[in-house]
């Protein structure tokens, strides 16, 4: 087998632009957050400028990689580097969610029961002796002095109310989107671009529906149940887990939408070369698996 040269760009402006714009982003984000109670602060302008620069850099960077690919600079070995790179990136995302799931399991198995007086460290109950451990934790140990007690949780409401339970619809939407993106993949592998475009379009649509339903659920939580970030550890874990998941859905949906645009308007991808799409679909399946875990551990159990 003949050796194909591994493409190493001689130099690139993108990374330094990306690093510098992230620098602006974190200065902006920190200043904005530190001046949340100051309505006259313009710090968010720094944040938005940084974000705009960062997104623009990413756009041109990815465009360049696509161009290089189309110009035939990518050897099989370079494509393999992208495959490994994406796989390990997804692994790092898995570990990010693991931190939040770990926090959830810890408070549910140890911290909350101990505060309620059960278990080996149950003497924690002497802090707030009226507190009874329950999950979902609605009444905070301090009896709502520092935190706002919610009216109800987002957990499984019982079989009789299941038809009003938004997370169930979210689950159906997201699980079907994993299937539709797989159909798109199958179509592409057969070289059928039309099937690919249709199924991918449906997937992007389902992503949008999911985000819409999630927004509706948050609205319901905040407006009707009084469940907020400030509702103690149940609200904290609920919003952080579902929030980061929702953010990842938006990111994955954006990736798939870019792939759809590339396919429909620029005619990219064929049955042999389509790792850009595959990487996005891997990410999508990952987001889906996280949701299954969320549905199980945050909503049902």
């Amino acid at each position: 087998m003949e050796y194909q040269k591994y493409y190493v760009p001689e130099s690139s402006k993108f990374p330094i632009f990306a690093a510098f714009s992230l620098f602006i982003v974190i200065i902006g984000a920190s200043s904005t957050i530190n001046s949340l109670d100051n309505p006259e602060s313009n710090a968010s302008l720094i944040l938005y400028t940084g974000l705009a620069c960062f997104l623009a850099t990413l756009f041109f960077w990815f465009r360049q990689v696509v161009k290089e690919n189309n110009a035939g600079l990518e050897s099989a070995q370079l494509s393999q580097s992208f495959v490994y790179g994406m796989a390990w990136f997804i692994f790092s995302e898995v570990m990010f969610f693991a931190a939040f799931f770990g926090a959830l399991f810890y408070v549910r198995s140890f911290a909350v029961p101990w505060l309620g007086g059960e278990g080996e460290k149950g003497l924690a109950n002497m802090l707030w002796q009226d507190f009874e451990a329950t999950w979902p934790l609605i009444n905070t140990p301090d009896g709502g002095k520092a935190f706002v007690i919610a009216a109800k949780s987002m957990s499984f409401p019982g079989w009789e109310n299941i038809s009003h339970w938004l997370p169930l619809y979210n689950t159906i939407v997201l699980l079907s989107s994993s299937v539709t993106v797989h159909f798109a993949h199958l179509g592409l592998k057969k070289g059928n671009k039309k099937t690919f475009n249709i199924w991918l379009g449906i997937t992007v649509l389902l992503a949008l529906i999911f985000v819409g339903l999630q927004a509706a659920e948050y609205y319901e939580a905040y407006e009707h149940f009084g469940l907020t970030l400030n509702s103690g550890i149940y609200g904290s874990t609920f919003f952080m887990l579902t929030g980061f998941h929702g953010f990842h859905v938006m990111l994955g949906g954006l990736m798939l939408a870019v792939m759809l645009i590339r396919s429909v308007f620029y005619g990219h991808f064929n049955e042999h070369k389509h790792f850009g799409f595959e990487a996005a679909s891997w990410y999508w399946h990952f987001v889906d698996v996280v949701w299954v875990m969320l549905f199980l551990f945050v909503y049902i159990l």
Binding site: P9, S11, A99
Partner: protein
């Protein structure tokens, strides 16, 4: 499209670009390795200067030169800068320089990402250091930033700290993905996994650890951010959370992190001992398996940092035994290094001096770690200077000596010039004496009960603190000599041969010294 073609047609056979742009825009693994190494050295000097402030304050009991508030900031920044700014980037720099050459690759697998990984760091540390000038001062809660010190009682600059940690983490994750992909995908034909140089193996495992735990650190600081500014209660028992949860999450990151800072050192020392003993390394495959076992065990020992926090007895016992288990693979490595030297034709050039003292002093740090792992004993040692002595023994004559050894060992390959051997040995002996005078007495004052992290102490600890401070200034000053030696070598010196060292083996020694700007554009043959 034309720009793509243009940038491609003349590639690979000319040297580096000129001026500042070379360093800003570079995609070359050797350039980026150099950037990492210089950055790490600058951070080493800044973090070292902070250590000097700390030791100067502790020269005598009573408050001498700084306010307690500022002392806390120095303590915190010293730890953060040395861990994230000095040791880790130095190892990434070495990986950049060496891994592609050792596996016979033309460059790192993702060259542009490599540049981004580096350039995030100066920005992140610029922000962290600028917090010294912010209202309320720099972070003052120790490098482990336990809640609620780092949440309820933190200065406003904690927000900047949180985001700069995010950026450091992103840099580490991208750098590690690059290393893993390079090792998995870019090896020359014939370079099987079990033929890889041990430094490459050590980095493969380190990179895996980094990708596994840096996101967890990101999760921890994110929860802090939410607790401080958005009303969540992850680390607040009044809302049903738990401050101890912070310690669990932090040390789930933190313990693998300490192996991240030592595994590459294992790789470096294995190469150096092999070369200067003029023998094949004893027990190559057991070295690989030992590193793998250490890496896996590192995920199940984290709570040995928290024995006194109030954990159930079963947890204390589990983490005690699991921690002791790590001594087994570590012992395998130490015995293998000694067996490699056994009956070797040893010469004592500077890298070998550093490597041998690594083996001895790292082992001392390992043994004090074993003492700390015993739960009932740890109740006495916890948060004393014994702990400070322990982790400085594994980090300074451990990680940092290995980095210095690596610089002396490979600098002829990087610059084409030999360093001044006499000055190198002088640097070694000054550092060796300095480090032991600094940290060995801390074992005693720790066992006698001196708590860590205070700017003042009881009178009975005065003598050894004075000795320790004298040692610290000796060690600090001898690093200026190191800077001088490195600069002198970069400027000129006796020309190095391609092999440099008589007993050196490996692909990096098969190319000229200095190594050409592009090595192995077509893969070499590996036997």
């Amino acid at each position: 499209m034309s720009s793509v073609i243009e940038s491609h047609h003349d590639d690979h056979h000319h040297g580096p670009a000129k001026g500042l742009m070379r360093w800003l825009l570079t995609t070359n693994h050797k350039d980026i390795g150099t950037l990492y190494l210089w950055f790490s050295f600058a951070m080493f000097l800044i973090g070292g200067a902070m250590a000097m402030v700390i030791r100067a304050e502790l020269f005598q009991p009573g408050m001498q030169i700084v306010e307690p508030e500022f002392y806390n900031q120095m303590l915190t920044l010293h730890g953060l800068i040395m861990v994230f700014g000095a040791v880790m980037p130095a190892f990434v720099g070495l990986a950049n320089w060496l891994v592609p050459m050792m596996v016979g690759a033309p460059d790192m697998a993702l060259p542009r990402l490599n540049n981004l990984s580096f350039w995030l760091l100066p920005f992140a540390f610029g922000i962290l250091l600028s917090s010294l000038f912010m209202e309320g001062g720099a972070p003052n809660f120790g490098w482990t930033f336990y809640a609620p010190l780092s949440t309820t009682y933190a200065p406003p600059s904690v927000t900047f700290f949180i985001f700069s940690v995010h950026i450091m983490g992103a840099s580490s994750i991208m750098g590690s993905i690059n290393v893993i992909v390079t090792i998995m995908n870019m090896r020359a034909p014939g370079m099987d996994l079990m033929k890889m140089p041990l430094f490459v193996w050590s980095w493969l495992i380190t990179a895996y650890l980094l990708i596994a735990v840096m996101p967890v650190l990101a999760g921890a600081v994110t929860m802090m951010l939410m607790d401080i500014h958005f009303g969540t209660s992850f680390f607040n028992a009044a809302g049903g959370g738990d401050p101890v949860l912070f310690q669990h999450i932090f040390w789930f990151f933190g313990h693998p992190e300490v192996y991240i800072m030592i595994l590459p050192a294992f790789g470096i020392v294995s190469h150096i001992i092999e070369t200067f003993s003029r023998k094949q390394l004893f027990g190559y495959s057991s070295m690989v398996w030992a590193m793998l076992s250490i890496a896996i065990l590192s995920f199940v020992v984290w709570a040995h940092h928290m024995f006194t926090v109030g954990m159930p007895l079963a947890a204390e016992l589990f983490f005690m035994w699991a921690t002791m288990l790590i001594a087994v693979p570590t012992g395998v490595k130490v015995f293998n290094w000694v067996a490699t030297m056994f009956k070797g034709s040893i010469t004592y050039e500077t890298p070998m001096l550093f490597a041998i003292s690594f083996v001895v002093l790292f082992t001392i740090g390992g043994f004090s770690g074993l003492m700390l792992s015993i739960v009932p004993a740890d109740f006495q040692y916890h948060d004393t200077y014994f702990v400070v002595a322990h982790f400085h023994y594994v980090l300074v004559p451990g990680s940092i000596f290995s980095i210095m050894a690596a610089v002396y060992y490979w600098i002829p390959k990087w610059t084409g010039n030999m360093y001044d051997e006499r000055m190198g040995r002088l640097h070694f002996w000054l550092s060796f004496v300095g480090v032991n005078v600094t940290f060995f007495p801390q074992h005693w004052i720790g066992l006698a009960g001196m708590p860590r992290r205070y700017p003042d102490y009881a009178l009975q600890f005065a003598d050894w603190n004075m000795v320790s401070t004298a040692g610290a200034f000796l060690f600090g000053a001898s690093q200026i000599l190191f800077l001088f030696i490195v600069l002198k070598t970069v400027m000129g010196g006796k020309k190095a041969t391609p092999q440099v060292w008589e007993g050196a083996r490996g692909l990096e020694w098969s190319v000229e010294s200095p190594a050409p700007y592009h090595t192995f554009s077509t893969p070499p043959k590996v036997n």
